[in-house]
Subunit: 649 residues, 2 copies
């Protein structure tokens, strides 16, 4: 009987998510009637391979019949795996005979039985092994009890266990293995129109952004994400602070896509041209940055599709196209597409062409606006179609929706998803949420991205908050989550001014107006962000979520957690530092907080009997500690927390 | 999307276990993309029915997209159920339109859209409903906004939701519904040979047992279980206390089945005849007792099958039949059957014939010896074959094995199983174990029976223990578990003498010798057992495991739990008392223990604002309490615990 095989998503109906080098730790419940010994193994197969590699599983909890083994996928693509189990007749015989030998009981009958077992196995083992097996059988048949203890006996016999004779777990499971970038990444979002090199009052361009990429790269981010770069509609255009009427010079929201100049495959004339996008992709790559574009599948009333393809929209009884609404609110500047219209095939193809259009210009990463308002079946098809052509393509889901919806989007193909991080603020909230994210089933199906802010979200916590709280939130996001991002320069400049409408919205929102940011403000958090990103890059432990463990502190303002690198080929001396990382975060941005920690030293790989070194790679200070009980004190004006590299001589 | 539908065993590959009247509380995670309202329902089908009854599900946790509804199976057999879900277009429209009406927004366009929706539905609703639907559509088309609030609109529209248009959960799930006796029962085990009416020194007979049934019936048990009644082997017969040599008058172990007089379909001559079994079945029925026989599928060396069917046994290299062993121990009085021999079909048929032989003589309940040493596939086939002929047949599994093995036996068909109750003794152990047993997945697939002792088990806790501890263990078993049993008269006479071999075995074990029990000992616990069984019969709450809830007490010697009757047709005034039952057990058999309880009054159905009555149905005392914080004190010499019937005016 083989039950409860994992990791598995939805009972094996969906692949588990992994990146290259991230182990697949296979577990299963395996048992049989009777008292025979079992032999259990994982068989796994890389994409395109014909054969299966077999790894013996070890019994990890005999009382619960649990077995485990792991393999490390070394390449991108769908890896398959399953569990095989055999009743180990030779092992059982060996066991019983050895016990009789130990008790001094006559075993002449057992030796003959063993010889017969080995002789029957001969046709199943490799030809090269047969003479050795025959020799052992011969010794048993001649009554040589010493042959029972021959260490080659069991391995030889196990060579005769063939997959055709095994119980095999069903269904065969799959791991969707992506490049490491799918798990480990740091996003920086900016509105190009605010980045003019000509100074205030000018509309920034893509070329302006290309000229200032060093600002983003110097902070160590590796994905540069731009809100939609397409022509912006005129009809019902929104004015500053989302007001219903726009003045003649108001630029409008980039998400009201489409005008006389074109739709989703055009570029807003004031930003530049399609070629400027390709140029930005190339220049960003030189700085180690990937460009991400926004896929917002909706139209302004001025989008060419409105006249060319009215059949792609819903219509009201009076024949007009149905605008978006959340009764009684109306969004007359946005026409949703009707994904279930009669002409849905043409519509879906046109949307795929949008992504392929930008992919042909070098874009591989897409942030997807509100995917939960479109059919799951659409995304499953759409993402598969893009990935079959561009296997390294990545999709970030902007669905701040219910957990089931967010997980379903991940299961149908989204690489990453925004998370509830903005609203997880206390020690209890962060501990509960990140425990859920870092353990199965969550960690096998859903990759969270932690963003302290977005153009849509200035949390109540950050409204009017001191710069030290922005530092604390960045520190938490960057060290808790392998994927994080900020919307800047609002973030590093600690813009804390809300819309004063009782919501978690920015005042003077950049979504509706051009902002003039003082990026050289000496109080900017840009150096801290750079330090955090460099520490993440330099330490393997911070590239994973799976090994996250929380430790006890006697002060609720101190959040303590550790990570270790996952085992596997990533861990080699030529690569970044492989030490365990212990983080002590001060959740209080106003006051000094101190307390005793009760560290789980085993989780840190530390021998409790000897001293160990905790080197703060953020403050460049070194502590020498002994035992699990240590005192820590943090001053918010100095640093938001310790990032401690743990080593022991 | 319909996910995580329950109750389900092994993802729906096995049926869940239920008895008649026990509700199937169906839950599912149901959601869709977008913001439309959903309509969700359970469809269920009794055995043999063609149609499906449909029950609307209610949203129980919108944040987690959980929905629930239940149905109550009213007959024995396989009931099927599944979840259906529709996007509720009319409900969504109604919602949005109502919000606009509330906000005073013009809805003329919405009324026309609603009319069109209802008109399109007309062909789907029952003919009798069409005029009403058409009338509503007409009012909407004429601009009558009041029609939106018509309470018949939504039910009429939901009548047009057809299964053919629904998303349907897969696979369809099944509930194996058995008679209430499968869940609620009380077993009494006795060795007939110790029940001679002629006094000490005589071998008791089945007729002697038949003549003394009132002793068992007076204690309120409803199943009388006898160890194997077949001829006992002579070869290698075990003597007193499992000694290797038996004297000429030693009766041997009833589990060494088979002699010259016959095998599994014969009766040991000193006990009587096959007809005496049938007679005992009939006489027991008159006293409300069902007879249970033992199925121990193994043979003594003298069993007729050893000579008639040597091919049904394993052979050693020297040609002799392989006896049972656990190296270096040998059990030469027992030959295991080889369920995987070449002639397995004939062997399996012969074993089925054993059960059918006794079933034809009226036996419907079988206690199965060591089922985990035989193939699961055998039991699945065997139990199904018996149940297709005798649907009310019951099988108690004697597998004190690992949890996975015990659960698998339940999944392949065993009605009940012995449990770890003998070794769950402290408050923490009992709370953890019975929480696991009373919640999914356990409670849906595995029915535990709680036995304080068996002929094989005198726990270390009971060795040398006072009678009050026996009382406490019976009290716990009878009130925690709907199925319980004792091996008597050893139990009610508090036989606490162990075999002095460092094991949990009885001294002077009745398995190997005839015992002379003083059943009229005034210190016997028989009255307590009778009271416990009568209280169980009289209170519906004690017939279920599913509603078990533990409550806090500030003293670890006090175990506090409650049960309520499950909803359904069982709960009608003509049936036993339906009050909630609160149990306070004193786990300390030596000392008086008192403490404050912190009761979960909601679980008891008590309004915390008013006083309530706790009537101890064991001691016949009444307490009037108010609030959740009450003080309780228990004296082991007076009673092992309170069984409190909770009522409130």
């Amino acid at each position: 009987m083989i039950d409860a095989v994992g990791p598995a998503v939805d009972g094996g109906r969906r692949p588990v998510k992994r990146v290259v080098g991230e182990p697949v730790e296979v577990e299963a419940t395996v048992y049989a009637d009777g008292h025979d010994r079992l032999y259990v193994a994982v068989a796994h197969q890389p994409p395109g391979a014909r054969g299966w590699a077999v790894v013996p599983m070890a019994s990890t909890n005999p009382g619960l019949d649990r077995w485990a083994a792991s393999f490390v996928p070394g390449e991108v693509g769908l890896h398959r795996y399953r569990v095989l189990a055999w009743v180990d007749h030779v092992g059982s015989w060996l066991d019983g005979t050895q016990r009789k030998l130990d008790a001094g009981v006559d075993v002449s009958s057992e030796l003959l039985a063993g010889a017969a077992l080995l002789e029957a196995l001969a046709p199943k083992v490799a030809k090269t092994e047969r003479p050795a097996l025959a020799a052992l059988a011969g010794r048993l048949r001649e009554g040589d009890a010493a042959a029972v203890a021959d260490p080659t006996l069991l391995p030889l016999a196990h060579g005769g266990l063939k997959a055709a004779d095994a119980e095999v777990s069903r269904p065969t499971l799959e791991a969707d293995v992506e490049p490491e970038r799918a798990l480990f990444n740091a996003w920086y979002e900016l509105f190009p129109r605010s980045w003019s090199t000509k100074g205030p009052g000018h509309h920034g361009t893509l070329a302006d952004v290309a000229a200032q990429l060093d600002y983003v790269a110097s902070m160590g981010f590796d994905i540069l994400y731009l809100p939609p770069v397409h022509p912006i509609g005129r009809s019902f255009r929104k004015g500053p602070d989302n007001s219903e009427t726009a003045g003649p010079d108001d630029p409008g929201s980039p998400w009201a896509i489409g005008g006389p100049e074109g739709g989703h495959t055009a570029v807003h004339p004031q930003l530049g041209t399609v070629d400027d996008v390709a140029d930005l992709v190339a220049k960003a790559a030189q700085q180690g940055l990937d460009l991400a574009l926004d896929l917002a599948f909706q139209c302004s009333p001025d989008h060419p599709w409105v006249t060319e393809h009215p059949e792609w929209f819903r219509h009201r009884p009076d024949g007009t196209i149905q605008y978006a609404e959340n009764p009684p609110k109306k969004y007359q500047d946005i026409y949703p597409l009707d994904f279930e219209c009669d002409a849905w095939r043409e519509l879906w193809d046109a949307l795929l062409d949008v992504a392929l259009f930008w992919a042909r210009r070098g874009v591989r990463i897409f942030r997807v606006d509100n995917p939960h308002t479109k059919p799951f079946a659409f995304w499953e098809w759409f993402i598969a179609e893009v990935r079959v052509r561009y296997p390294e393509a990545m999709f970030l889901s902007e669905a701040f929706s219910r957990p089931e919806i967010m997980h379903r989007l991940a299961k149908v193909g989204f690489t990453l998803s925004y998370s509830y991080f903005p609203w997880r603020q206390t020690k209890a909230e962060l501990t509960e949420y990140f425990t859920e994210l870092s353990t199965p089933p969550g960690v096998d199906q859903f990759r969270p991205s932690a963003w302290p802010n977005t153009p849509d979200i200035l949390t109540f916590q950050l409204q009017g908050a001191p710069r030290t709280l922005f530092a604390s939130r960045a520190f938490l996001a960057a060290t808790l989550c392998p994927s994080w991002g900020v919307y800047g320069p609002a973030f590093e400049l600690a813009d804390n001014v809300d819309a004063a409408n009782g919501k978690e919205e920015y005042g003077a929102s950049e979504k509706y107006e051009i902002r003039d940011w003082d990026r050289n403000d000496p109080a900017s958090l840009r150096e801290l962000l750079g330090e955090l990103n460099r520490i993440r890059t330099d330490h393997l432990a911070l590239r994973t979520l799976r090994t996250l463990r929380f430790h006890h502190a006697d002060n609720d303002a101190l959040l303590v957690y550790s990570k270790t690198p996952y085992a596997g080929p990533s861990v080699d001396p030529a690569r970044p530092h492989q030490a365990s990382i212990l983080v002590v975060a001060n959740l209080d941005a106003a006051w000094t907080q101190g307390g005793f920690l009760d560290l789980d030293l085993a989780a840190l790989g530390v021998d409790p009997a000897r001293p160990y070194t905790a080197h703060d790679v953020l403050a460049d200070r070194t502590f020498t500690w002994e035992g699990s009980h240590v005192y820590v004190e943090l001053h918010p004006d100095e640093q938001p927390g310790h990032v401690l590299r743990i080593t022991q001589e």
